[in-house]
């Protein structure tokens, strides 16, 4: 008879806190940061086009596309452009964040999914290259054809340009503005033949040019993402907060070291969970009052704004009090 050994604890029980594994200069104004856990645990799965939320000191949240290798389950890579009008996010990453530091992370979430196609036209402006990198990796495996048009102010400002050219040759068109002017979007995109899908990520004027050129294309055959400069959400809270369980008439405190799920369980209220990474939806709970700080991968922007439900395994509170339908 073997005696039961101690029970392994369920997945991560605290917030997703990642360590900066390394930080590299990629081009003028761009650094890349690799994040992971010290014991190289698997991080929540993601798909090309996904971003994570980086929760910076002071509770500011910034979104960065994942641009690493999805076949490396223990590492996320992001690349960050120093923005002149930065309210602190990119400056912090450039000037302060160092290997060994810990950062809180939400997500990953994907508002920019890769859809199946026979032929892909990728257009990237500046740091808009980041979501395109894992898309190219995926499309290579899918065996579809693709080309990339990649522009920016100067050649020296274009992150990953050399590695893309070295690897993929003439499928990559590098187009610095100071040498060649604006991106030749119309020529590059062509007429939108059936089976072709265009992906564009970059600054607003580039997206506008792509939208104008592709106005008559089939529904869904043009997909764009504006890289997000500033988050509009209220700053998230790093201190403890109170969670009131309306149906069971109890109230619990959630400290930074524990999740809402833990706190609810400790109060003896039965709740189901499964992944405990915000991926599966098992722990979804109705929110009656308060503003959730969403860190799951599932709810889209509309659902987040509605604020009437949350994944309590990872999501937290923006204010000092939440009332849950439990």
């Amino acid at each position: 008879m073997t005696l039961p050994t101690p029970m392994p604890t369920a997945a991560t029980r605290t917030q997703l806190s990642l360590t900066v594994l390394d930080k590299r200069r990629e081009s003028d104004g761009v650094v890349s940061v690799r994040l992971g856990q010290e014991d190289a645990q698997r991080l929540p799965d993601w798909t090309p086009g996904a971003h994570i939320d980086l929760i910076l000191p002071g509770g500011l949240t910034r979104q960065y596309s994942l641009c690493g290798d999805r076949w490396d389950p223990a590492t996320y890579r992001i690349a960050v452009l120093r923005e002149s009008a930065s309210r602190g996010g990119s400056a912090y990453v450039h000037d302060q964040l160092s290997p060994g530091d810990n950062v809180l992370v939400g997500g990953p979430r994907n508002n920019f999914q890769l859809v199946p196609a026979r032929d892909y036209r990728f257009v990237a402006g500046g740091i808009g290259i980041t979501p395109i990198l894992p898309m190219i990796q995926a499309v290579e495996r899918l065996g579809s054809s693709w080309t990339l048009l990649y522009g920016g102010r100067t050649r020296a400002s274009l992150a990953f340009a050399d590695e893309l050219t070295a690897r993929y040759g003439d499928r990559v068109l590098i187009h610095p503005q100071d040498e060649f002017g604006l991106l030749p979007v119309a020529d590059f995109l062509g007429s939108g033949a059936p089976g072709t899908v265009a992906y564009c990520c970059g600054p607003a004027p580039l997206l506008a040019a792509v939208d104008a050129h592709t106005a008559g294309w089939r529904a869904g055959s043009v997909r764009t993402e504006r890289f997000v400069a500033a988050a509009t959400e209220p700053p998230v809270r790093s201190e403890a907060f109170e969670v009131v369980l309306a149906r069971s008439g109890r109230s619990v405190r959630v400290t930074p070291e524990c999740s809402v799920l833990d706190a609810v369980r400790d109060a003896g209220v039965p709740v189901l969970s499964s992944c405990e990474q915000g991926l599966c939806g098992t722990c979804e709970t109705g929110v009656l009052e308060g503003t959730p700080d969403h860190r799951d991968t599932l709810l889209d922007d509309d659902e987040r704004r509605q604020g009437d439900r949350m994944m309590i395994c990872v999501s937290r509170s923006c204010g000092d009090r939440l009332v849950l339908d439990l």
Binding site: T2, D45, P48, L142, R218, L279, R309
Partner: protein, 405 residues
């Protein structure tokens, strides 16, 4: 290189010549599961030339690690690299990233909890009359054919948007598909005789013009209109619902009814504390594991539990054994609503985790809610019978008495 790794591993690996798909172990797999778990983290099944995982830790690790343990070469015994699948492979279950990504994103959104909110009222209303009728009739019933099969078939095909005619094909189709993940034994051969016409009917129902507006099926087609998936993918994604959506919940519901009948104090507790209804279903999914097994193929040499599994090997994950591993669960052989069944692998784990789990939970919650309102006690009135299936822990007969509250 591969050979030496294999031979080095195989001398130390516990070997078994048991047949997990044979009648004896399908009738009662638990003693074998215990031997498998106690033999070590990884074992080898001689009869099929596959590696076997019986412990929670390794099963969960293999389920999560899609980079090393792939599904695209089949999640049954057949290796699609060398054998022809019996039907075009699933775009979800039998696909790896990046092919898996778009179909999965679409199905996740079609079956999301937001989508289910619209069904909730209707699904909760439906079993009231069903349970009422059974109780009024005296409460004696075969819970398999008169409740567990009836209720999902009343709500799920409508939610998909299927036509009324021909729905009797759904159970045989699912049953054969789940048998076909195992070896081509008598269970599969029996199914092969009749599956042609059944599969043809299933195929026809996946076409756009067969699917009622607003249902899951039509929503999958609308995703094709938006370009999120292709028009060639849409029918196969609908097929996934028809394959995986019925037999699984039938056996899940049978599992919870049987467990409640055998543990009257647990039923009593659930009646007093209806917030335990959802726990009861997940505890039954842990306890019985309606889906017992799935396979993977090692994409490269993978080190797991101190063994190197060579690239290309088939690996059999015993979900049912992991869900009763005493290394993870206290008194795993007890059906206990006061435990937290969270983290069981009855719905899998990771990127292939059951896309229909919220549907399954909602169906069960609706039915159990109707039961606790109307039924004071559930008892076994005879000896239940299993129905053998290569993958499902299935029931043939479950005689119960429902006593009116």
């Amino acid at each position: 290189m591969t050979d030496t790794t294999y031979h080095a591993a195989s001398t130390e690996l516990p070997h078994f010549d048991d047949d997990p798909f044979g009648p004896e172990l399908l009738e009662d797999p638990h003693p074998f599961h215990a031997r498998l778990r106690d033999s070590g983290p990884v074992a080898y099944l001689e009869r099929y030339g596959v590696f076997a995982l019986g412990r929670y830790e390794q099963v969960r690790a293999a389920l999560s690690d899609w980079q090393s343990f792939i599904s695209g070469a089949g999640v049954g015994l057949a290796n699609f690299r060398t054998e022809t699948p019996w039907r075009p492979p699933s775009l979800l279950l039998e696909a790896d990233p990046p092919h898996h990504d778009a179909p999965r994103a679409v199905l996740t959104s079609v079956l999301s909890s937001r989508a289910l909110r619209g069904l909730r009222d209707q699904w909760f209303a439906d079993p009231e009359s069903l349970v009422d009728d059974l109780v009024k009739r005296g409460g004696e019933l075969d819970a398999v054919s008169e409740l567990a099969e009836v209720f999902p078939l009343r709500v799920f095909p409508d939610a998909v948007g299927l036509a009324k005619d021909g729905r009797e094909n759904l159970l045989p189709y699912g049953s054969h598909a789940f048998n076909a993940f195992g070896p081509r034994n008598a269970l599969v051969q029996d199914g092969e005789a009749t599956i042609g016409a059944v599969a043809e009917w299933i195929g026809e129902q996946c076409a756009r013009d067969r699917l009622a507006p607003g249902g899951f099926g039509e929503q999958i087609w609308r995703a094709a209109d938006r370009g999120d998936i292709t028009a060639e993918q849409a029918p196969l994604i609908v097929r996934s619902l028809l394959t995986a959506g019925v037999d699984t919940t039938v056996n899940g519901i049978s599992a919870v009814l049987s467990a409640l009948a055998r543990n009257p104090e647990q039923y009593e507790l659930m009646r007093r504390r209806p917030e335990l209804i959802r726990v009861a279903f997940d505890e039954a999914v842990r306890f019985e594991s309606p889906v017992q097994t799935f396979f993977r193929v090692a994409e490269q040499d993978v080190s797991l539990g101190g063994t190197v599994i060579p690239a290309g090997s088939k690996v059999l994950m015993f979900l049912g054994s992991a869900n009763r591993d005493p290394r993870r669960w206290v008194q795993p052989d007890r059906f206990d609503l006061q435990r937290d069944p969270s983290g069981h692998v009855g719905f899998g784990m990771g990127i292939h985790q059951c896309a229909g789990q919220h549907i399954a939970r909602l169906e069960a919650e609706a039915l159990l809610t109707a039961l606790v309102r109307r039924v004071r006690r559930i008892e076994l009135t005879g000896t239940p019978r299993r129905k053998h299936n290569n993958t499902l822990r299935s029931w043939g007969y479950l005689p119960l008495r429902l006593t009116e509250a």
